[in-house]
Symmetry: C5
Subunit: 357 residues, 5 copies
């Protein structure tokens, strides 16, 4: 699973770089949702590709921000046409279509191109759902490309509709920030879900209920590694945003980018922490298993050892020698029991004293 998320680039081997061929994408035909807003009004709806291309050809409207949200990447020609309309470099268009990219930010002349990974918990059982979101920020226009329906941007849309917060009063750069921020903020929920699973697992191990934690540890570790693998380049991506900012991002947006970087740092730290935690949990688990095994072996061995000398004594008096005086004694049998009791008692005392029992 993991490899299919971040690699699988070999399928396009042999094609010239910049070839607009989808790699690893799901067969979802693009649907285009356009949101347009200025300080006074906002407008939202699905539009056809041709209409969009015409509008983009007219150039940006003053004081208006347009967000074009393309969902589904299965139609390479459409994606390429949109890319061309906003002067996106062919290599960036290729990256949109090959969904195995690392999170990154690249500047192609007037367009800032950002790749992020949208991560959510799929369900209670808790598989991770990873989806590539590519974002292009041009003059007055933000274009996002998603692999399939369902995203973490609903809150941003609501803020546009309801004019909550400062979003509508700011430019396209702030919208781009808000969208990346939404993706990064969603990582916190994933981290928390992982932490909760880890805590439940820790309790289960501590209770020593014989429950085998190996598989759960394995799953959790896969999630933590996936998250870390996404978080580290995301942090670098945000850091590079802080550096290119003076041209692309308005000065008033800068504190927000700094805040975003702070969040990315926290994600990376939390992922590191979770990984260390899992290592420790694994060791705790191994120690518990080994402890239980030791307990079993010890008790069983003690019992076995206790009876071995006794069985020897019964063996002695089971011998058939003609001349065995003890066998003739009146109280030989009770005496044998007495000897055996003394031996057994002595061994129990010895074991107890050494804390073996």
């Amino acid at each position: 699973m993991r490899s299919s998320i971040l690699e699988r680039a070999s399928d396009k081997a042999g094609l010239p770089p910049g070839s607009p061929v989808p790699v690893g994408v799901e067969p979802v035909r693009p649907r285009i949702r356009r949101i347009r807003y200025d300080t006074t009004a906002s407008e939202e709806g699905e539009i056809a590709l041709a209409t969009l291309l015409d509008e983009l050809a007219e150039g940006p409207r003053a004081d208006t921000v347009t967000w074009i949200d393309v969902v589904g990447l299965a139609d390479a020609d459409a994606i390429e046409a949109i890319g061309r309309a906003i002067a996106l470099h062919p290599l960036a268009v290729e990256d949109v279509l090959h969904v195995g990219q690392r999170p990154k930010a690249e500047r192609y002349e007037n367009v800032l191109f950002v790749v992020v990974k949208m991560v959510r918990m799929q369900d209670a059982a808790g598989d991770l759902d990873v989806e590539q979101v590519s974002l292009a920020l041009a003059d007055g226009v933000v274009v996002t490309f998603q692999e399939r329906e369902g995203d973490v941007f609903e809150a941003v849309r609501r803020r546009i509709r309801t004019n909550l917060g400062a979003l509508r009063r700011r430019g396209a750069d702030y919208l781009a920030y808000a969208l990346i921020d939404a993706v990064v903020d969603a990582y916190f929920a994933v981290i928390e879900a992982i932490d909760e699973r880890a805590e439940r697992l820790e309790d289960a191990i501590a209770e020593d209920s014989g429950y085998d934690a190996t598989q759960e540890l394995h799953d959790l570790r896969g999630q933590v590694l996936t998250l870390r693998r996404i978080a580290v380049p995301t942090r670098e991506m945000v850091r590079s945003l802080l550096r290119v900012e003076e041209e692309v991002f308005a000065p008033s947006t800068r504190p927000y980018l700094q805040d975003l970087y702070d969040h990315a740092l926290r994600i990376v730290e939390s992922a590191e922490f979770a990984r260390e935690n899992l290592t420790w949990l694994r060791e705790l688990h191994l120690a518990t298993v080994s402890n239980r095994m030791n307990e079993v072996m010890k008790v069983l061995t003690v019992i076995a050892t206790l009876f071995i000398p006794l069985t020897f004594i019964t063996g002695v008096y089971g011998m058939n020698f003609k001349y065995m005086p003890e066998l003739e004694w009146r109280y030989g049998y009770p005496a044998a029991w007495g000897v055996m009791s003394i031996v057994a008692g002595g061994m129990v005392v010895f074991f107890r004293r050494r804390n073996w029992w």
Copy 2:
């Protein structure tokens, strides 16, 4: 526990950045304590929010330093009003209310905003008590925001009241330094408590008293990781203070910041050292457990092995063959005992020579 200290940011997912909504805070209504001092006098007392806002609106008094200590974050409106009165950026106000921040220092125009973590041992049993303290340094004013009553600033208050040391002769920047220094100095006590627990644990393991150290190791490691997780960004925060200093901190304050950075370095080193120490203790513990187990198994196996050949001999003479010459011998029975004694003695010698017993 750990995750609730530094994360839990997902609760605000969907809100615009800068939203003044408390996240993770305890339901403690803010109380405002104001301390005002110059070189000649100091004044200390609790004041109402409205009074405070009026005073702040008047602007700073010359040569007077005002420390506003806000305890309790459950009233977002009050916090926001205070923030607005000292021109604190909305993102900083948000950070005050979301107590899962990393230690950091940020410059917003004329205000320096610092987040630190106040760490204390809760009690003898020794859980860590972590509380976020946010500090804003504006012109002549220092505002601190704490989550709840109880802090490590009492010594600073006493120095203000008694005019001990240079504090009253210096500006608000020195007060800010003194408060951060108080927080960082408190880490030393935590480190020492952890070291003492580790030493007691080491003694317990060395005594090999059968005491199970796994849980104690687990607890200690949680504390060390928490401390390290706080100490590393704190060190970075102090380093960044050293860099922004020429505008905010007076030159005479610089050696103190350098000293503070030195303390932060020592905390980080101590935490690293404690972590390595715990790793070693864990290995020592495992080796001890495994040694004890080996001892048990060895002694028990030796006993069992000793009796097995003897039992075989008794079995031989317990057979019911009609023609077994030994059984008819006059001294067959004592001879059997003799053979068994020789076998047993030989094995004991063999075991002893090999150091197995």
Copy 3:
């Protein structure tokens, strides 16, 4: 195997640096394939060494790119003559012939000299096939030196023949990029093959089928280490290309180099990930083996322990004392069975309750 790929430099110890003596190369006599193209036409074919040297002496043709592909390094004089014809430094010629170089890029006056490692899966069983490819980029000419027939450049040749993509419209620098890109892209296929083997191995371990995974883990780890050992200096090599670019690479080629660097980063990350994964798999494997062993030991020990007290009882009534009242009882024998059943049942209950059985 590994050492022969990247080392074996001691064979030339004692020779002056820059000596054109093949080290570690296979006995393949050089064959020279020349591809010449401009925007309108392309020409491809094998030529003799003498012809090539004459052509190179004439200097580069305007607007024409010449790719000279030398396959086989066993004729040092031929290699040296070609090197001299394009003004390649003797040290670079030496590196061409000593195939144990690290991936690297070096600038010798007007010639850019690049060493890369071509890696492919040899077959289904999956040994890695590593071959050194040296590339010299001079004015209008790219010379590649390969150890033997078979490479990953077929797609580039097809793009030249069919005029697919931008390749024919660009200069020799872009051809050099395209060739290095082909080598790096081939790593993805190797990573995927390794990941698939690792996944199959993980399944086999999880199934716990008694299959011994040690050898497979050992092989996989050898491949991952080899790949990482190649990937890390390759990344550094591409990074150094990004720095020397302004003189050698046209500005329009720059985004492509950036893209190449991005790929190299992903390769390194994937190799790191694969290594961590193998470490975890090894631990999973050890845990599984140890678990199975524990299960065996536990069940067997339980059985043994169960019968030991019973055997003791039979021993007691096998004793030959003259006066043993039980032996005379009418129902002594069934009573013995009863006692034994009760003891056995009690132990089973005890084991079950403790979850040992």
Copy 4:
């Protein structure tokens, strides 16, 4: 022990920074030894505090170097007075008195303040003796503060007395260098003592004499960690001396500082090496213990297993069935011995072939 060396800073929590209160120091009242020399003569002796302060008030004599060696820190007022006399910053005076500092070098206006750790082997048994030495280098004056009598400076004193080497021909900066060099050089002896202990331990482990190396490993590791903890900041301290040099250290002293830095590097490398060595020794020790245990278990189990089938056979012929033909045979008993010999011999052959015995 460790924590008391480098921490214990919490005792002064609550005091203003720069407070001259001794923390962690031994109750040794200061004694002041003054050495004065120029190229022609040297003068050495103990002087009273008042005399010293008067002299210092007069200012430095031309061409004369004065070394004031203060031993014992229990009198804070005296220390503070000396500090004030050479214009040492209060924070530095505080560091002199709080002996838990990290090695460091700080520049306070005209005074260079250096903290180093003097480390010696206490005795043959080999505990480390760590003592803080603070050094202040002002114009023509070097002041050293030691915790107690006994140091590594005797050779420096002898060089001053006997005019051996260049020491008397150079300034106070060279004296400061010579003193720090003496401290650092003493680390080599500690490293060698540790290495020798490690070698003896390695021999003991290899001899497999049943000697329990756990405690020795634990002690050695404590020493190595302590040394590393001191060596790493010492290296940084010397590096910082190399950077501030142009103002404080004469150009002719620079190669000596470089040499000192080289020594510090070697100390750190040696400490790292010793740590890796100990890790390996620990693993060797564990492998040896586990090997011995395995040997024991194997031999014992083989013996036990050998007799179990034999005992079964004796059990068969110990049964009391009325009709057991073998029991009536003339040579039944010798036949039983024959069968048992064959079974035992077969098992021995089987064990031997599998290399189990």
Copy 5:
């Protein structure tokens, strides 16, 4: 052994820095071999110290390179006199005599001073032979100081004698490069010898022949650590040569230094690789040992367990109860055998099904 190679600096503790006292050197009196050459001729032979000093006093001859090879360091005065004659700093002379230096390059005014470690395999058994070679490069003169006869420079001498390669046409800087290169190239042979030992060891472990690999692993690891300990500072030394080059090394020598740096990088990587390989081999070895042990235990335990129920049955019919109906049966004895066969067969089937046998 290791510590004596790189440390042992404590012997000179107490001496002033720059003291020309041999530390750790073997008692080999210096012999001086002088090689002089220009483009037309070369001259080689042993000369007396006095003659050498006279020649050096005359100053360098134009266009002539003189290589003075001093073998044996036991005469400190001679070494010091030579050092003074070429204006070598006393600290460098001290480093020549104290053979525990780290590889390093230092610039003292007009003299470049380089310390390298000459490493060779002592013999087939394969101990490492480490010898310090110090090299001083002054105007037209290269002086090398070796500890004893025997070196890796024979190939350089042959190139001078036979005028092979460019050596005679270049200056003293190129000779210095050639000598350092000879030392570094010799490391490759050591790495290969180590790799071959490691491969043989891996085969031995895989064959599982009961051969104890612990000691061999320990030896190999010692060699790898020693080599790495030398290789890392050597790489740094060569890097520093690349930086000081513009004054000391002619531009035409620069590519050769770059090549040398490349070799040093490969040595370090190979040493790292060898170390990782050994770690893995150790784990493979442990897994093999543990596997074999498990196999033994399992088979033995299975055998023991098989007979325990059978022995119980014989015990039952060995009891002496008066009324045991089975004993009277005509076919009781064969029936007992039947029951025992069924029990044994059932257990075998059970074991087999669970893959325990």
